[in-house]
């Protein structure tokens, strides 16, 4: 069915003839990145060997298996999609291999942002797994303590649960809205519908009581 796609094919997408416009207008969604496209999904900007400038050597090798899908949000109220772990902690200058297993029947992504742009175009390392598939990719983290955003960039998947963080060393503080790690920045109030009445009632009782106490005194 898919002749060319049976082989892994490393391609530099779109010849960089208009580099400025490529940065500004990214019509096809992946200009300038190193892409590996397979039937199972995509590995973008994989880096096995090139060291970040602040790293003399690879400090350690990690291998994580991260699963994604509806199942991993079933115990988080108000969330639809989730990951088996929303936080990944690694040492500075370590090499991180991630196997991303998608248990749903729709696409999911595991995308890291904010990495050094001289190593990772647009600062991104990106895994995308088609429904029921898994992909594996490796990247090397920089040498300073920093917290990086990890998310799925399908429309609304981050908002509905697929948001995580990659903590390098001690990190640089937790990100907001990471399920199981940090609270929602704009948290809804979840108050009873009769809250105004309740507030007035409490106010009135307190007022009368205070008035009576003051008078007695």
């Amino acid at each position: 069915m898919k002749p060319a796609a049976c082989f892994l094919l490393s391609v530099m997408a779109l010849v960089a003839s208009r580099s400025v416009a490529q940065d500004e207008v990214d019509h096809s969604g992946h200009s300038g990145h190193h892409m590996e496209v397979m039937p199972a999904g995509v590995v973008m900007n994989e880096n096995l060997t090139e060291l970040p400038r602040d790293c003399p050597e690879i400090s350690r090798d990690y291998a994580f298996t991260i699963k994604a899908g509806r199942n991993f949000a079933s115990d988080i109220p108000g969330m639809i999609y989730g990951m088996s772990q929303h936080e990944v902690r690694v040492l500075p200058c370590s090499r991180v291999e991630v196997t991303f297993i998608n248990e749903d029947q729709v696409r999911h992504q595991w995308m890291v942002h904010g990495l050094p742009k001289y190593l990772y175009p647009a600062g991104m390392f990106h895994l995308e797994a088609a429904g029921g598939q898994s992909v594996t990719g490796t990247f090397i983290v920089p040498g300073d303590d920093q917290t990086f955003l990890v998310h799925c960039d399908m429309a609304q998947h981050m908002e509905k649960g697929m948001r995580g963080q990659l903590v390098v060393g001690d990190g640089s503080g937790n990100l907001w809205n990471v399920p199981g790690v940090s609270d929602e920045f704009y948290r809804f109030n979840y108050l009873p519908a009769s809250m105004p009445l309740l507030a007035v009632l409490v106010l009135a009782v307190t007022f009368v009581a205070a008035f009576w106490l003051a008078k007695k005194a």
């Binding site: 898919k2 992946h30 496209v37 729709v106 995308e128 429309a155 929602e184």
Partner: protein
Amino acid sequence: MNRRRWLFVTALTLAIVSYPPQWYPLPVRLKLTEWFGAMGFRALPESVAPPATMPVEFCPPDPENWRERHLIEGVEIEASESCEADNPYTIAAFVRGTNNVSQDTLLKSGLTADAVEMGRDLDGDGDPDEIHIRLEVAELNGGSALSRGPVTSYEIAPGIEPGLWVFAPKFVGMAVENFESRWARHSLRLPSPSIRIEQGDKVLITLENSHYMPHTVHLHGADHGFLTSAGEGNDGVPFTSEMPVMPGHARTYELQPRHPGTMFYHCHVQTHVHAMMGLQGLFIIEPNRPDNWLQTMNIGAGLVRVPSRSLKESFEREYDLHYLDIDKQLNERIQQYNDPRLITRSMHREYDITDSPPDYFTLNGKSFPYTFRESLVVGTMGQRIRLHVVNGGAKGLALHTHGHKFVVTDRDGDEVPESARSAQDVVWLATSQRVDLLLDLTNDGKHAYGPGIWPFHDHQYNGVTTDGIAPGGNISAIVYADYLKEGGWPKTRGVSWDSYFTPAYYRREIPVWESYAPGLFSDTGLDWRMLWRVIGLCLAAGILAGLLLSWLTRRGRGQ
């Protein structure tokens, strides 16, 4: 005591002096006029300058020459004259099948390898007859617990970003242009894509529900069995045929249509909400012809750049025109919450469609003036153009054109007999109705009156506004090639469009005729004298009320 009297006299004097003469009772004014004549001339307040128009670019550049004619994978892709065109590589992949194109074309198309798969040629006529289409569901201008503005943003008109749901082709990668951008990627847009298949094709449509609510696909008007060959429900209706597709799940619908015609597809879960959020698209079944490679999807509808064999037999070109109306009271609900439970309650129980007239009116997912970037019908004298039109909105559509009369050749996918056809300049489309229109550019004084820029639009007057501000809504135009500039913008005469491309115009901040009659119909300044009189009256009333309160409390204490 003295102070109170002094205050009372002051307040009374202030009230009498401040009281505006134009508020005196009419008999008093008439008597005063009898005695003293009219009051002296006092000029009305000056006009004030409106906020500056800050127009966005009318016609964005086309850096990758997508508008030009292309030959990709052996597919001839016609030029698209309007300012904004679709990615020709995506079009080529839709024609050949994403499983049949080179890796380079696939990468440039942005699609996944299984977005549109094409299989065997069953009737041996030179084109594939096994088609497998995959659709995802994407939310545009949705809510977030991380930011206040809409996420995965999409403008239908300057500054107008209603919450939307669309069926979308399967693309690789991010939903936004890039990580720094809040804008949805180019191809992720309203309306859901037009789908084109051939009569007799064996078609599978897999809905991969990537949204956070249940959805289905209902093939409205297209010949499909109630059950699939495997005995599963196939009509997309939760209360009669099958369970809806839950988030993260997929389901395949199948059909092998026996008749051609312009049909429709939409979500049938809580249809009054889901279809109106944008989960609907044109579904066109072309007559079977040899070597007939169809453009399986037309992103954003509009010009079909790879027209079918049957079209070329009697027309020069074809356009898909998808009309929709949007009720902002519904569409803003996905932006007010992030919790799907709260969104579900708000959209399906609190929202009441029976109380809600629509506010926005789109043609191919945009309102005027953005319709002029991509939804112009472009032709030359003597051409015959086919328009596939659907009214996806909740109200009727009175489609009217200037300078021409349409002929309805097909209604709801069935041919209208020659004897029953007539030339019409208003064509009525009920909700979900489709018509195929012949637009004949022969200058015979009936079908066409000659070259120009001829608007076409809904003639129900709400349809030509954006939330009541005109010009807006679904206005577009038939433009003859002589009237187009090189970049695709029409050589309009008359007024400047700067204000129409300024968001403040649709926020009601710019007077409608400001561009050509500055000052004449502008907003007015203040009448300062009147303002001081009213403030004086307020001061007097305040003093009197204070005196009254102090008198009452003294009385209460028995003094």
